[in-house]
Amino acid sequence: MARVLSLGEAVAELVHDGDTVALEGFTHLIPVAAGHEIIRQGRRNLTLVRMTPDIVYDQLIGAGCASKLIFSWGGNPGVGSLHRFRDAVQHAWPSPLEIEEHSHAGMANRYVAGASGLPFAVLRGYTGTDLPAQTDTIKPITCPFTGEQLTAVPALNPDVTIVHAQRADRAGNVQLWGIAGVQKEAVLAAKRSLVTVEEIVDELEPRPGALVLPSWAVTAVAEVPHGAAPSYAAGYYERDNAAYQAWDEIGRDREEFGKWLNELTGVKA
C-alpha cells in the first residue's frame, strides 16, 4: 500500500544518486515540484527518462543532476529549444550528457514492455531512419508466423517513476483525469513510484475520463498543491504559458540560469 509522505521525505527515500528516474507527464500534469525537490536535494548522476523532457528537465540538466537522458522529444512546447539541454549536449556544460534517443512510439512501447514484465516490445518503427545507427536499443525482429521484419525495443524499468495526479484518497489510491500520457505505464514499469497530488481527499468521487491507480501499485503519495505548475492540472489550474516563454530567457544564459538555481536552492549569490 502507498504511504503518504511529504515531498521532501519521499524524494529523500526514493531517489538516489545514480538512479534511473522517470518524471513523466505529457504537457499535462508534469511533476515539476518533485523535479525541483530533486535539484534541492542535490542528486547526481541520474539517468533521466522522459518522452518529452521540457523545462523541468532543462533545469535538472542545468543543475548538474543528470549524466544521461533517455527521450524522444526535448523542447519547450510552443516556445522553442531547451537551452540547458543543448548546452549539455553541444558543450558538455555543466557536465557531459549521454543521450539515448527514440521516437515517441518507441518510448511508449518501452514503457508498455516495462509495465508488462516483458524484456522488449515490438512495433512498426524507425524504418529507414538514422536513429537505429545511434543506439543498441533498436533492433530488428522477425515475426515467427509471417516472416515479416519488425522492430524491437527493450523495456524501460526505471528505479523510480514520479508522476503528478489530481487526487489521492487517504489509503493512497490515485485518481487522474484528462490527458493521461504514458503515466500509468511509467508507474507500473518502475521499481518504486511516487505520485504527487493536488489534494488528498476522503473519497475519490468517480468522474468521466478518470483512471485510478490502486494504492498497492504505488510506493508513496505526497500532497503537493500546484505541484505541476507551470504545466496544468485539469480541474485545478491552467497552463502558465508565460512561464514557459519566460524560461526561454533564463535558460538561454548560463548566468541567468545560475541566479534562478540559487534562488531555487536558497543559495545566496
Binding site: H28, H104, N109, L131, A180
Partner: protein, 251 residues
C-alpha cells in the same frame, strides 16, 4: 481582396489540402493551424488526432501544445499515448499525417534531430523525433508544411529522423513501409510534390505573386518545376478572416 502575408498563404494552402471527412494526425505549430483552419472552412468533419491521445479534438482556439486541455475537453475520446500510437496510428487507420520539419531534403526525408554531420558533436541539437518517424511511416499519406529557404530545403538532410522517399521512388516499398509517404509539401512560396516517377520533390504550384526564380533560389538543390506549373488561388476573404480569428483566439 485583402493584403495577406506569405505565412497566411502557406497556412491557407495547407488547410485546403485536407479533404472533408478525412482523419489527420496533427503535429503542433503550422500543421495544427492548417488543420484547424480546414475544420472552420471546407472540412467541418475533418477528424483531428493529436499524439497526446486526443481523438477527434475540436478546439475552439489554436492549441499551444499537443497536450492542451482544450484538446482533451473537446475530443470524442482521450486515450493513452501508447494507445494512440499502437491502436490508432500504427495500423494505418489515419489518412494524413501533417508534419513540420527543421530540414527537408530533395526526397522528402525529414530532419528534426541534429544540424551538422556528427550526431555526437552537433552544430545544433534539435528537439528530436517525437511522433514523426511513425507518423511518416504509417499514415496513408504525409503532408509537410514549412517555410522555404536554402537552410531548410537541403539536398540531403544531415540526419533522417523521419523517412520520406529515401533515395527515390521504390525505397518505401523495399522497406515495407505501408503509407505513401510525403505527397505534398506546402511552403510560403508554393506547393511541391514528389515526381510520380522519381519521387524527387518538384514545384507544382506557385503562390500568387511568387516568381519561379525566387523559389529555386530558396531551395538547396536544383529545384525542378512541373511542366504545367500552376498558381495557387489567392486566399479568399473568408479564409483570411477565419485564419486571423483562429490565430487571435490562440494567443
Amino acid at each position: 481582396m485583402s493584403a495577406y502575408t506569405a505565412d497566411e498563404m502557406m497556412s491557407i494552402a495547407a488547410a485546403r489540402a485536407l479533404g472533408e471527412g478525412m482523419s489527420c494526425f496533427v503535429g503542433i505549430g503550422l500543421p495544427s493551424t492548417a488543420a484547424n483552419l480546414a475544420r472552420r472552412t471546407h472540412a467541418p468533419n475533418l477528424t483531428l488526432i493529436y499524439e497526446s491521445g486526443c481523438l477527434g479534438a475540436k478546439p475552439s482556439r489554436l492549441p499551444l501544445s499537443i497536450g492542451d486541455g482544450e484538446l482533451a475537453d473537446t475530443a470524442d475520446a482521450v486515450v493513452s499515448v501508447p494507445e494512440v500510437f499502437n491502436y490508432w496510428l500504427q495500423p494505418g487507420r489515419i489518412d494524413v499525417g501533417f508534419l513540420g520539419a527543421a530540414q527537408l531534403d530533395k526526397f522528402g526525408n525529414i530532419n528534426t534531430t541534429v544540424i551538422g554531420s556528427d550526431y555526437h558533436d552537433p552544430k545544433v541539437r534539435l528537439p528530436g523525433a517525437g511522433g514523426a518517424p511513425e507518423i511518416a511511416a504509417s499514415c496513408k499519406e504525409v503532408f509537410v508544411v514549412l517555410r522555404q529557404s536554402k537552410r531548410t530545403f537541403v539536398d540531403k538532410v544531415d540526419f533522417v529522423t523521419s523517412f520520406g522517399h529515401g533515395t527515390g521512388r521504390g525505397d518505401r516499398e523495399r522497406l515495407g513501409l505501408r503509407g505513401a509517404g510525403p505527397t505534398l509539401v506546402v511552403t510560403d512560396l508554393g506547393l511541391i510534390r514528389p515526381d510520380p516517377d522519381t519521387a524527387e520533390l518538384t514545384l507544382t504550384e506557385l503562390h500568387p505573386g511568387v516568381e519561379l526564380d525566387q523559389v529555386v533560389e530558396a531551395t538547396g538543390w536544383t529545384l525542378k518545376a512541373a511542366a504545367d506549373l500552376k498558381t495557387t488561388p489567392a486566399p479568399t476573404e473568408r479564409e483570411l478572416t477565419l485564419l486571423r480569428e483562429l490565430k487571435k483566439a490562440g494567443e
